[in-house]
Symmetry: C3
Subunit: 436 residues, 3 copies
């Protein structure tokens, strides 16, 4: 594969294209099961032929069991005048995700026990879930709750919780080898733009463009509901996950913060070193975090029995921005330019793992004469200039160092080192052993 | 052993109890041999059944030989008027420890060659010794020396230096295994409160309380004269010192400085990591020092042929506080609260070595479902809260990490990690292999 | 060899002697081939019996070929009035080194394409070369160029480029073993005082003094033209370079900056640790640099197929001082005191590699009794004083640590540790196994 993967995958419109797709996904009410996930995947199938997998309710997946399927049509709280003071139709965050159905009339004081607000962010609706405890509830802006007058309220949640299935989507871009690069995003959050419409849209656009590119690795795109969805996929693919050589969980990639990379549990896997290099070279304000067993589905990929080399890529780290898990995480919070930068950082990482190798200098005794090959300035006395990358590659190409090792030791971007290696290979000064 | 070792050994009065015992030991005139050591050990036997060992004068112990036994009854310098201007009865520091007997009349100028003072601390009496060179001498406050008028002075040291024995005391608390934790204090210093009445008193109180506790390790308490006493013990126990898995030399544990831990020569032994963790978590003002071959009896335990995992625990580091080796190291210099804190830090270290283990996660494939076991908040969307320690233990319990490893990687106190491990064990999610 | 190598090699006049020799070499017009190199080596043979080696034009040396030999007699630019406005006789920097011969008459505008100046340093003549591209050219002060009036100029370079040879000089001081310490300086630069008359003069004075000293290592002094000269030597000695255990490239050792040590490609070879120790102890303003594959002939010695333990010693790092590769690098720029300090730092490194060893403590069980051997203060209670180095050596002499390891761990100068080891050896407390 040529060294121009990044340019093959990129164009000026990528940020707008990712944003537009995220905006289309935003209104859909997703959960860990149900028709919202199916609608999302079917929408994305306009771009990439995702395969939908259905795992029936009750299926054991490692320590877990696939829950009943939740679907919701409508929900509201009406005041004594019959006005909807809380309306699911205006925001699907208003209902605690996975709420039991309810239809009742309650005095305000009793109703309040079922209502979640954010007193410190009184105009935002919180996002809450109750997947594994049977309850019902509403979420609303604290200021709206304060305005409610005493009296009887009608509560109605037209939801069903029935045997059905958990749905996930999967797409494999086949490369020259069966070794895989896993790109995973959670698909269970309702109307939250950054978390994770941004991730779903970015990876779909990447898969779409990658389709026409010949790669060394196979790329597996997995859009599964958080936790139980990833666990279901791992349980069903336990025998083959060993193919995964690199992986990224991608979420919250549209805001203006970060970028942030959280290392895999291994801490020094190739994807950890690759993302660290990419962020240090291309995003000076970036943060590299050590593994912590809390976060997104890297929790499952990195569990001790699997210990896969999968890290987490984000812009702002989850739970650190005030819009996190609130109605503030809307389409105003994500930006085409930020989505484009996230996309480019991921492509730069792909470029590294695709092109990394351990070349051998064919002239290891002293330096070869670069000048007669047109690789060195003809007038002496002025310093190495552009030849320094060539000298680094020649110096370190003893078969033990990868191009990424060289980039780190030379403190130069991988792309500069890889370009130097290409020039040397064209001059016959470098060999790349097969499979190195 | 339960995880509550620290609480089993502790109570609110511990600081006062250690101080009271140190105060009882303070007046006794100890040296590296003689009745002072015996009197000290016999006093401590009211609390702990120390065994007294007598090593005869002339016994070879490695490169050394047990010296003659020194005992002193009285000593003074009298002026022409017959007044005691220096009086052993008011402070046993007045006589150079191990002085030869003398009875003579000398002019002041000649006498001064036998007198040690501290011109920079003119009101303090220095502590000086002459174990291996035969001489006699006095120590006194510089200001008192300056007041002496010319004339003849009577010097009298009623001491004996005769064949006898070197005495040390030893007590073994037997645990479930023969592996030992050595707790060692020097018993050769006369009236110096911090150095080392504090150490003798603290360890005696610890041994006293430990007697009723079932432990994994056996705990050996050794009160031996500095250098030659420790060497004698090591020479006599050369075949069995390999049982020592951890060790602490304890001295100067009653002042308000520090605390300080000096690592063993190995630098990364379990006691080094344990004390570093304890001091970082519990004593933010603490200092961790690398090994230096000067100090207390860790010099002997860490000699290259033994290289035992024994560190030094102190409050202020020796030779860094102005009261060190002077009459300023008196009972006003040590405090019950400081003694109690020292005691608690040592108990925290014992708690770690007693409870550390390498558990195994019984559900290593993905995370187990903590929610249905009551180990996780039922409402989602709000962060891990108290579950984070559980997640760390599950993540790292692959049989290679000890609880202390986990505490360090999670940057959490050992006690929090150990408590999480207990909860997981009770839920069947963790196994502790025997001997792990 | 005694520990006093440094004092054997040193005397108060060394700085003046090195300076005087550098001043004698300064006027000679050297290049990578030609009579200037021969004249330089023949001058140095007054002090040290350097052997001159001639490698014929056309000889292949690894990837390179020995070029034709360049010699120059005269060169000038004359104005219309016949006045020499640029005159080789006033500075040999005026001619681009390795210029083709030329005799022509050119208008100023055409002539300017052959002239190099430094607009930012308008009073200095740059140093430029064109070894491997056939061209002619002049170098001059920018201000002088600006003064030239339009018109025709006569250019004349009376040089020859013909089959001949490349010359290098070599001198071997034989030690007890065939293991070698390589001391290498480039001999191809014309009138540049720091770069590298200073290095040639310093190493010649070192070789001269070393002649009367018995050493463990053999010391090879190599004065070869930069790059192709070093490559020629390596190609001709490929079978024996494995004898080189340590090496230093020495250049720019007379200015007041630095000192600077650039590590070998290995990064942790004995010479790297030795020079780091010497500079940290003796030159607090020093800089230690990691290896970079650009610089002087360490580029060749450290090429991946050789990877010799050879570092670079300088005062100011090359290409970082404004006089670098200009007529400002003249005899005013180097100073006897700086040359002397450079010399002493190199001698200190030689002292370390000559005297380093891995001794064994003959009394490894506890400390030996230093007092009865006169190695410890007789009055106790006052601290270790000068005995601390003895204690460090005893503690670490388990056969795994070298004296340099001990100096680093004790944070003491090597000379202090080596002196302590000598005292212990004299007392029978230390053995130095043969070949340790």
């Amino acid at each position: 594969m040529p060294d121009t993967l990044a340019s093959q995958l990129d164009d000026a419109s990528i940020g707008e294209e990712i944003f537009a797709l995220a905006a289309e996904l935003y209104p859909i009410c997703r959960s860990i099961t149900g028709d919202g996930v199916r609608a999302t995947l079917n929408h994305l199938r306009q771009h990439v032929p995702f395969e939908l997998h259905e795992v029936p309710t009750g299926t054991p997946v490692f320590d877990w069991t696939i829950p009943r399927e939740w679907n919701i049509r409508d929900a509201y709280i009406k005041n004594a005048a019959g006005e909807r003071v809380v309306d699911f139709r205006s925001s699907n965050l208003h209902v605690v995700n996975y709420s039991m159905p309810v239809h009742d009339r309650l005095p305000l004081e009793t109703l309040k026990k079922h209502i979640f607000t954010l007193p410190d962010q009184p105009d935002l609706i919180p996002y809450r879930t109750s997947y594994y405890a049977e309850r019902w509830g509403f979420c609303m802006a604290h200021n709206r709750l304060m305005e409610l007058e005493d009296g009887l309220y009608e509560v109605f949640i037209d939801a069903t919780l029935q045997n059905g299935a958990l749905t996930y989507g999967e797409y494999l871009h086949r490369g020259e080898t069966d070794y895989e690069f896993l790109l995973s995003a959670h698909i269970c959050h309702p109307s939250l733009a950054n978390d994770n419409c941004s991730g779903l849209a970015l990876l779909t656009r990447l898969a779409e463009r990658l389709a026409s590119v010949k790669t060394r690795y196979s790329y597996r795109f997995l859009f599964a509901p958080g936790t139980v969805g990833a666990i279901a996929w791992l349980a069903r693919n336990e025998q083959t996950v060993g193919r995964i050589r690199h992986g990224l969980v991608v979420s919250c990639v549209g805001d203006a913060g970060g970028p942030t990379y959280k290392k895999s549990r291994r801490g020094n896997s190739a994807i950890d070193r690759t993302m660290t290099h990419v962020l240090r070279c291309m995003a000076p304000s970036s943060t590299i975090l050590d593994f912590v067993p809390y976060g997104y589905d890297e929790r499952q990929y990195c569990s001790p029995g699997l210990n896969l080399p999968v890290g987490l890529f984000q812009r702002s780290q989850f739970a650190t921005f005030p819009q996190y898990h609130t109605s503030g995480d809307n389409l105003d919070f994500i930006r085409p330019a930020c989505l484009a930068e996230s996309y480019r950082l991921i492509c730069a990482a792909l470029n590294i793992v695709e092109n990394d190798c351990r070349p051998r200098n064919t002239m290891p005794m002293c330096e070869p004469q670069l000048g007669r090959r047109g690789l060195y300035s003809a007038v002496g006395g002025e310093g190495p200039g552009n030849s320094l990358a060539l000298l680094w590659v020649l110096s370190l190409s003893d078969g033990t160092n990868s191009l990424l090792d060289m980039a780190e030791r030379a403190n130069m971007p991988f792309a500069v080192i890889a370009a130097a290696a290409n020039r040397l290979r064209q001059s016959g000064l470098l060999l790349v052993p097969t499979g190195s």
